[in-house]
Amino acid sequence: MAGPRGRWDAVVIGGGHNALVAAAYLARGGLHTLVLERRERLGGAADTSELGPGIRVPTLAHTVGRLRSSIQRDLGLARHGLSLIAPEVRVFAPRADGGAVTLWSDVAATVEGLRAVSSPDAAAYPVFDRRVRVLGRFLDELARSIPPDIASPGLGDALAGLKLGRSFRGLGRDGARAILRILPMAVADLVAESFESDALRAAIAWRGVRYGAVGPWSAGTASVLLMDGAGNDGGAAGETVFARGGPGALSDALVAAARAAGAKIRLNAEVATITSRDGRATGVVLADGEEIQARSVVSGADPKRTLLGLLDPVALGPSLGWRAGNIRTPGVVAKVNLALRALPRFIAAVDDERLLHGRILVAPGIDPMERAFDASKSGRWSETPVLEATIPSIVDPSLVESAQPGTHVMSVVAQYAPYELGASVGSWDDNREAFGDAVIDVLETVAPGISALVSHRQILTPVDLESRFGLTGGHPMHVEAGLDAFYLWRPLLGHGRYRLAIDGLYLCGSGAHPGGGITGGPGQNAAREILHDLGGRRR
C-alpha cells in the first residue's frame, strides 16, 4: 500500500531484473515501493517463454552466471526458489572441420585439451586466466563503487576515491600499468598477445564483442571482456550458469523477494509520462491516464526512452535533450529460439554429450567474427553470423518435461543483425525468416542434420526486441558498452550516479554503471543511492 496521502516513496518503471532488484532493496530499506510493468509478465529480458506445447525457452538472455552473489544472499533468492545449474563445460567452440576448442570451469582440464591445439597456448592459458581474474577483481570493485560526483565532490566521494585508489595500487605496479593499457585495447590484440591459435583467440574474444556493435578489432572491446568476468567466476572462459526453469525463474525469485520485502507490483501498467514540478520528479501518469504520486521515480527503462520518451522536454532542457538523443543504442543482436525433435549431433562432439552442456560458440576465428561485424556497419545482416547457442534442456529437463520425449530447446544469440537495415535490404519483416535460415545454415556446418530436427523456431530481430522489451534500438545492453559510456559517463557525464536529469529521478537499469547483462549491479547500486537520498534504512 502507498505511503501517507497515497504517495509512494518510490515508483519503479519496468519490471526487468534490475528494476526488481532495486525494488526489493528499496522495500527492504523501508520505502513504500511500487513496480509498474507495461507487459503482462515480469522479468524483462530475463524471461522464459512457451515456444510450443510444453516447450519452454529462454526468451532473450540464456545464462545468469553474472548475477551478483551479494544480491542472491541479501535477497535470499535460493529461499525464493532460485536454483542454479553450473555445468563443467563453459564454452564449446566447434568448427566445421571437426576440430574444437573447449573451455572448462576447471582450468587444468582446459589446459589438457589445449595441448592438442597448441602447447604454447596451453602453457599461456592459466597465466591469462589468472590475469583476467586479478584485473576482474579490481573492475568488480569499480562496478560496486558509485562513480564520484566530480562537479561538487563530497567526503563520500573522497573516501570512495581512496578506497578505489587502494585497490588500484593493490594490483601492484605491473597490474596497475597493465589495466590502464588494456582497458582501451581491441580484444583481438589482447588475446593475440597471449595466444597463437586463432580458434582459441576467437573463443575468448567473443565475450568482448557479445551484444555490442563492435568487432574484435574495435578499440575498447578488451574492457568489455574484463567487465564480463568482473564479480563472477568467469575468468578467461566466462561464466556458464543456468537458472532451473530458465531465466524467468530468476525473475520469479526476484519478484517473490521484492513482494516479501513489501514492494507492490502491478502488471499491464504502462507508464506514459514522468511528472515533475520545479525540476523535481513527482510521480508518473499511466497510459490509461491514472496518476501515481511518488517522492522518487526509479526508471528501469533505458535512458534514451526515459529521457526522451517519458520526461517532459521542457523539464529535460535542450542541451541534455541533444545529448540524450545521441546516446548510442545500435542493436546488432537477434535471438533465435529452436525446438528440436532430438539432440543434434555435432561433428566435433560425437562421443561426448557433456560438451553440449555449456555455451556452444560458433565463431571460427577472429577475422570471420570481424567480417560478420563488417556487414552490420553498412546496414546488412551477416550471412554467416557469429552464434552463441545453449541447449539448456540437457541439464534442465524441466523445460521440456511435458513435451514429446526427446525434445530439446536451443537458444541462439546471433550477431550481427543491425537494427537499422540499409534501404536496399528492406525491413526486418522482409528479412526475419531469411536471417533465421542463415542461422540454421551456420549451425548445419557444425551440426549437420540439425535443420531437419527443428520443430518450432522463433526469431527475435532487433526490431522485435525493441517492441517486445522496450529496448531502444533493440540494444540488449540499453546503451552500447563503449568507452564513451563507461563508469562516470554511463549513460551521460554528469548523470552517471543513478540520479538522472532532475531531482528525484533515478536510473536503475543496464544503461547505468556498471552496465548491461544479468548482474543486478545497476539495480543494487541505484537502490543504495536512493536509500541514501530518501533516508531509508540501509541493510
Binding site: 601492484g172 605496479r173 563507461f486
Partner: protein, 549 residues
Amino acid sequence: MPQRYDAVVIGGGHNGLISAAYLARAGLKTVVLEKRHVLGGAAVTEELFPGFRFSVFSYVVSLLRPEIIRELDLPRHGLDILPLDGTFTPLHEGEGRPAPIGPDGEKIGTGDYLWRVNDHGRTVRELRRWSKVDAEAYEEYGQLMVDMARFIKPILSIVPPDPASNDPRPLLPLAGLARSFQRLTERQQAVFVQLMTMSAADFLGQWFETDPLKATMSASGIIGTYQGVRSPGTAYVLLHHYMGEIDGAFRAWGIPKGGTGGISNAIANAARANGAEIRTEAAVARILTRGGRATGVALESGEEIAADAVLSSVDVRRTFIDLLEPGTVDDDFTAEVNRFKFRGSSGKVNLALDGLPSFTALPGEGEHLRGAISLSPSIDDMERAYDDAKYGHWSRKPYVDIVIPTLVDPSMAPPGKHVMSCFVQYAPYHLAEGLGTWDDNREAFGDAVVDRIAEFAPDIREKILFRNVQTPLDIERTTGLTEGNIFQGELSLEQLFFSRPVPGWARFRTPVRDLWLCGSSTHPGGGIMGANGRIAAIELLKAHGRKVA
C-alpha cells in the same frame, strides 16, 4: 683521442634536430648523427625527377608547436609556411546531390562536390547547399572544437606521470588539468570525453548529416592509424585539425616553402647557430653502454663517439632492439617494446605532372586545386577502404589526400609543370598471405591510386610525367620508421600518454641511464609537432641541473 660530447643525438629528423637545438642552446656540446645524406627524416624534400622537387613523405604542417618556432626563432633561420586554403571533396556523378547549376543556368561539371575554405562565410554558404542543419551546426561545432583544443593543448607539453608510482609530484600537472576541466561546462566536459573515446564517424554524426562532409572531416581522424573512421578512439585526432597554429591562427594548414625539408633545414640552421654539430651519412650501428649506462655510440664506419648522454630520436623498437646489445635491458621491458604496435597503414604517391588535372565535378583550373583535395565521398567509402586493409590488402579504392604544392610554391617544378603529393590510406605494412611482398605490389598499388584519382579527374593519366610510389616497406627502408608507421608507433588509445611507448617509461627516460628517447614514439606522438624533441631536451637539461635558457 676520440671526440667527447655532452650529448649525441641519434637521427636527424625534426625531433632529433629540435632536441639538439635546445641542448646546444643551453650550452651542451651536441652532435646529431643522421644516416642519410639529407636531413629531416620523414620531413625531407628531394628531387626525385630532374627539375621536380617533392616532399617525399610528410607533406603538410599544422602542428609544429608555436613555442618552438618562437624559441628557436625559426623564421629567421628560413622557415616560411605558405597557407593552404580549403578542402575540396569531389564526388562521382549521381553521388550526393545533382551537380550544381552555375550562374548561366548550365550544370557545372558532372557530379557534385563539397568545397570548404578558410573563409567561414563562404563555407557556410556552401554547406547550406547541402543542409541548413549542417550549416548551422558547423558554426557551433567549430567553436566547440576550438574550446576543446584550447583545453587540451597543455597536455601536449606535459611529461606524463607514472600512474603506478607513489610519488605524487609528477601528478601535479594533471591537477592543473583537472582544475581547467572543472571550469568547462558539463556539455564541454561530455564532449571532451566523447573526443577521447568515440569514433570520428559517431562523433561527427552528432552534428552533421551530410555524408561527404562527415567523411572528409573524419579522414583526419584516421591519418597514419590502422583504424577506420568508425573505430572507437579516432575522434580525438579531429582536434589536431583545430590545434594547428600558424602565426597563432587556429585551424590554418600550410606547406613549408621548399617542401617539408624546408622545416628540417630551418631547424638544422637554428641548431648549428646555437653551436650544435650535425653530421650526415653517419649511421649509428650501436649504442655503447657500460654498467647499464649509455656512454656513446659506434657508427657503422666503426668510429666511436663518446658522450655523457645519448638521445635517440629513432623509434623505440630501433633503439632498444636494433641499437642496444641484447641483455642491456631486462626481458619485461624488451617484451613491452616488442608489444608496442607499429603496423604502418599509409602510402604515398608522388607525381610529376605536365599540367593540372581537371576534376569532372568542377572542371578546369581554379582555387579549388590550391588547397587539399580529399577523395572521401562517403563514410561507407572510407570504411570500406579500411576493411580491405584489416584483412591485409591495400585499399582497392583508397582514401587519397592530394596537395599540389606548385600552386602555392612554383619553385618546386619547372615553369608550367606541377608536382602532386598523394597521401594514401590504406596500405597495411603486413600484407595477407598469398598477396606477396610490397615489392610485388608496389606498382599495382600505385595503379589503384591513379585509378582512384582518375575516377574524379580522368585526364590525370595523360598528365603524369613521372610516378614515385612509397609503400610502408619503402618508408621503413628509407627513413628507418619501423613497419613504415609515420608516427613511430600507432596513436591508438593504449599507446598514448603514460603508456607511450612503454607503461611506466613515458617520461623520455629509459631503463638505461643517460639514454633518452626524443622521437615520436614518445608522448605526445607523431606529426611534425616537435613537442617530443623539445620536452625531452628540457627534461634532460633539468636532470643535469642545467638552465633551459
